[in-house]
Point group: C2
Chain length 307, copies 2
């Protein structure tokens, strides 16, 4: 799947991912009104509003970006109807040939990680039948449990041609409290990065990128060069661009020498672009149009780094 | 909520929690057959089987234990119907006056942790109305993101009288890879433990236990004394008892000097007791009866430590 992602990035000339971290506060009134009219101001109404908003965004950007990333927490807060919107958005995006990243940050002891892997990447058995619960292509994984909490995900990746991004360096300021602690002369995030490389090499075969990717935030460009060195065949998911403070200029060291191996995520700056005065000329509540223009600009910015 | 848990443990004289990590392989044929008869071999059928099994367990044990813990991954793998069974089991257990721990191990950057906190401990707003998505009393939280990823959970705990257990030392063998790394002379899990203590002291007031608890596995009794010293007013959720290798004899250092502050979880050994030859005399597929006897024995074992 990481190879497929690398190819899609090349083909669309866009190392960019649109984050569908959809909150109700970002959904325009015409969409919430339509949803509440059918379902009332209920969890079902919220779920329908999120799904409808996501369809507008996906319709507007599917031909110019390789992937979307869904932050599951934004759906989970609306319970079952919210998670139905999560599932339906995944299906909708896949029909438009987008690669779908589930930003779930799961991770647990082995037997539990195996259940999460079945839930988000694989299949689950019920009597003689098998089903897919949430059919994402790639998910994010938390490394706190170490190898035996990671391996079940990698096994399912191999069986189902899927991928994972393991948290290495996160975008939030407090991430440093644990991740930057030094141990045996190196920060924890470098130790995790070495683990990602080992786990990935075990399954990479001859591929350019292994199924085991890494989350490396845009907000710490100073460490990107070292992390790329430690993880030469690892796809980087780069959050924290735009609203969180990361800039295109600082992205160069995240890429491989060949200018590959990176997918930069932006959420609020794209899906909330319709509220930005900069895009007001596109029309009132022009959700899709503004998102398309905003992500187009971001693609240009990111590609400029590689010139 | 941690005070309420401490009181419930005292009242029932049982520092024990039953883990509803329900998998289909542990559900007897009469229950799956009944579910499949109505819903077919579908995700809905699986969800109904899990919920029905859980009701049998809860009915059998609610008067002798203070709490149940649901491992959400076991439900998430069955998608929307699985998560509906998770939600329904929470409601059922609360009606029986059990404290319900959601073993969700969520954690992310601040704005995302806030959404998870609303999902599992708080309320979410839809227009003018508010709803609870998954109404657990306490959840487990992953500390990889540091303070700003933890704080949104603590805020919701304060507003809603709920609690969290932060992962400090997990029960799986590979947990040591990251958690036992030494930094500034101490293992990472001690640094996390100090964080748990600070976060908890900020909100404890005069209470015996703060709303911020810790996960400290039964499989590492050698470190319990030190962790209790670092976290004197912290409730410990102790997994890894029984099937994972932890024994009652080694539990003493987990408790405070007053013999409090501990809730030991056992999942498979209780909910799967009906398959154990030891309990065969209770009848065929005696799910509830076997669970009750098994947890009764476990309570005696755990209390014996305190004599």
């Amino acid at each position: 799947m990481m190879q497929k992602l690398a190819e899609a990035i090349r083909k669309k000339e866009a190392p960019v991912c649109v984050g569908l971290d959809t909150q109700l506060t970002i959904v325009p009134k015409r969409i919430t009104d339509a949803a509440y009219k059918v379902y009332g101001m209920t969890l079902e109404g919220a779920g329908e509003a999120l799904a409808a908003f996501n369809r507008d965004i996906i319709d507007a950007i599917y031909d110019i970006v390789p992937a979307v990333k869904l932050q599951i927490a934004m759906y989970e807060q609306f319970g079952i109807p919210g998670l139905a919107a999560y599932r339906d958005t995944i299906e909708y995006a896949k029909k438009k040939d987008l690669i779908v990243i589930g930003d779930v940050k799961r991770g647990d002891i082995g037997s539990t990680s195996a259940a999460y892997a079945r839930a988000h990447l694989g299949r689950v058995q019920v009597g003689g039948a098998t089903f897919r619960a949430f059919d994402t292509d790639i998910i994010t994984v938390n490394p706190y449990f170490g190898t035996d909490g990671i391996e079940p995900f990698i096994s399912v990746c191999a069986a189902e041609n899927k991928g994972i991004f393991i948290l290495v360096k996160t975008s939030n300021p407090s991430g440093a409290e644990l991740q930057d602690r030094r141990s045996e002369g190196y920060p924890i995030y470098e130790h995790i990065a070495s683990g990602v490389n080992v786990w990935g090499e075990d399954v990479r075969g001859g591929a350019e990128f292994s199924s085991v990717g890494a989350v490396v935030a845009a907000t710490y460009p100073g460490v990107a060069e070292r992390l790329r060195e430690l993880m030469p065949h690892t796809m980087f998911l780069v959050p924290g661009y735009g609203a969180q403070g990361g800039t295109a200029e600082s992205l160069r060291p995240y890429f491989t020498d060949q200018g590959e191996g990176v997918i930069v995520n932006s959420s609020r700056a794209i899906i909330g672009a319709w509220r930005d005065e900069k895009y007001a000329h596109l029309g009132t509540e022009a959700v899709g149009e503004a998102a398309r223009v905003a992500v187009g600009e971001m693609i240009v910015e990111c590609n400029a780094v590689l010139q």
